[in-house]
């Protein structure tokens, strides 16, 4: 049963990590603009589309 000490500490450590992750995500403004982030992820990087007739 002595293993309980380790298990309890391990579970606290995991929970503590999640608390840390939550505080960090709030601090780094990740909840500031939920709509924007949802759109930004769908945008490709470095897409250059030229519709111009000049290039055709």
């Amino acid at each position: 049963m002595g293993v309980l000490y380790i298990l309890v500490l391990a579970s606290l450590a995991v929970a503590g990590f999640f608390l840390f992750a939550f505080v960090w995500s709030v601090r780094s403004n990740q909840f500031e603009d939920k709509e924007g982030s949802a759109m930004r992820i769908l945008h490709d990087n470095d897409t250059t589309i030229k519709n111009s007739y000049k290039d055709r």
Binding site: A15, E35, G36, L42, H43, N51
Partner: protein, 815 residues
Amino acid sequence: MNGIAGVTGKTMCYHCGVECASQGINIGDKAFCCEGCKLVYEILDENGLCNYYALQEHPGLSQIKAPRQGKYEYLDDAAIARKLYSFTDGDHSIVKLYIPGIHCSSCMWLLENLHKMHKGIAESRLNFTAKELTIQFKESAVSLRQIVELLVTIGYEPYISLDTRQGKPDIVNRKRIYKLGVAGFCFGNIMLMSFPEYLSGNHEIEHQYAMLFRMLNLGLSIPLFFFSASEFFSSAWAGLKQKMLNIDAPIALALIITYARSLYEIATDTGSGYLDSLAGIVFFMLIGRVVQERAYKSISFHRDYKSYFPIAVNVIENDRTVPRSLEDLKERDKVSLHNGEIIPADAILLEGDAYIDYSFVTGESQPVRVKKGGMAYAGGRQTGEKIILELIKPVAGSYLTSLWNHQSFRKNKSQTNNRESVIHKLSKYFTIVLFTLVAFTALYWAMVNPSNILPSVSAMLIVACPCALLLAANYTNGNILRLLSVNGLFLRDATVIEQLGKANHIVFDKTGTLTSSNNSYAISGHELNDHEKDIVWNAAKHSTHPYSRAVVAWLDRRQHIQADAWKETPGQGITARYGNEEVRIGSAAHTGVAPGIADESAAVFIRVNDSVTAFRVTPKMRAGIPAVITSLADTHKLSLLSGDNDRQKATFAALFGSNAELLFYQKPVDKLAFIEQKQAAGDNVLMVGDGLNDAGALQQSNVGITLSDDVNNFSPSCDAILDAKQITQFPALLWLAKYGGTIINIAFAISILYNIVGLAISMQAMMKPMIAAILMPASTISIVLISTGISSVVAKKLGLSLTGRQKHDNNHSVP
């Protein structure tokens, strides 16, 4: 799919999706409605940014009303530009700009790719919810004016006002979010550590493990009690200092007793205490407060005149025009204003033909002509040509701005609402009843078995915490706020709900509130034929005079015809010649109508050759207003306050009924005084207005609602903003707010039932931690379900939308 333009026979602008009126503005197979839209396309194309059009169809904003060249000249002034920076080290600078036109993912994509259009821009990042663009740039490579002008050319004009200040503090209360996170962490873990004791039944768990769990619980309870729960203590203390028993006082007492008893049990090794229940209560109450604290990031409820005024104006000094920051304006400064610009302070007209649109300041619908040497008041908007004014008062001392010195602007409405709130009254009775019960129980045990006094009394105080009442209020308000906002009514905070429900007298403003900015036009006399309409349109369209514009708006778009001669005489009218036909638009004298037979109510006369047409402009009532008024008249007293003339009095008198008071020619101060007078007579006044002229009345009233065509646009300081498109829902929204109080009472009654069960057990000194741990979440969850459930059902019965999904279409309106 209807993506192919031209199927319907109409050509849509490739950029903005507006129907093309004129042909011939094309690039390849793409048609545009105007040169502005075409220009935007060309710029984007040159920079390889045509992905903009791939993400959304017709994502752009119509460029027909492009701003004047040189409007942003004042940004070249380093001192003014600096005010807008949120950071600068002399070269590398960061600026935050508010851009009202942002509406879709294409906007976001384009604005975040600004660096492709100018190499001086290092990075741009958009906060979509707040419509705020943060731009990092090198001042040596690009000036702020160039950036703003670039944004203007691609159709995203930022809004820069006197109120735009550097380093505005973040208003969002993040501390509560951290508290909630910590409370959640402690609650989950304390529950986990408490399970072994719940499940052990009659067998005691081994003492060494029991001690381990208790110690860990004790450790976890420290941040919970001293950090997460701190706001309950500080609020209770603040209330007590003002000799007031608010709802947080009994809650704080319950928390302290629970904690003290738990500490005592653990210290004396007689039990494991009630730390699990304590953690649960704190966690759920914090969630309730976060739910209720709904922030609309792109909406501001605290605007005064500063948000409307520009940051700088052009001042004429030694025959040169220099931009000057509004704060540095002095009396006797000569200011030059272009079409559409706002007069910053009371002034005298020196030069030009001034037609001042005071609709925002006084509610008057027609622009006022000011003669040379006449007074022009701050807040008016020049329509027409450039004018030069000499200021006679400083900005803060003007007639309009002095309204903000009224005492009603000094009180904090949130605080007063909160103090009068029903939950504080209920909690007072609750506390009194509870203490009476506690006293009786203590008395009983003192006679029967004194050793039971402390356990039973403390258990009662723990169980009978009015947190259920607080939760009922928080969750009901939170859900009602959400329901109201998906239906177009945005409240400043939850305290407004109760005031909305209590209101028994509704006061409406006329111009801009009951009537929309669109006018309806009527003609009498000669009926114009198609060709005549064409030439009248052509004659009127070159003039900036408001009546000429009204004529153009009435005729819509017509065939273009080149005039052979065109002349505008200020204060008189237009004379134009097309071949051998002559058009005159203007006053009776200008068009040669004898004053005696002239139609008094006509705005202008149109004379084509020898036939005369009288043209009338009347502000058009918003769609749905008659139904709204009729339905509100059954339940509320109604009044109408208008700064405008009483030309429409008969129409409104018929609509409002005989009991309503209709007052015209009301100045902003008169409106405020009217509200004060009604309040003194015991009415709870709800004011619905729109402009700065209503600012005083909105502030003085119990609830001030601003009606706005675009909720992200600019409305004066108020308690709530109603989307004008949703005006037909207004009576239903008021009913929902009214039912809010009833729902809170129902949820409260249920929580009382739980309290009776809990109290009955604890009065007999039989309360076990496990029973407390079951009762607490059971009551919490049922209250959350009941309060949100009933409010949603009520909203549905009232015909309101529950999710607001259907309203997520792209808004292509021109800002």
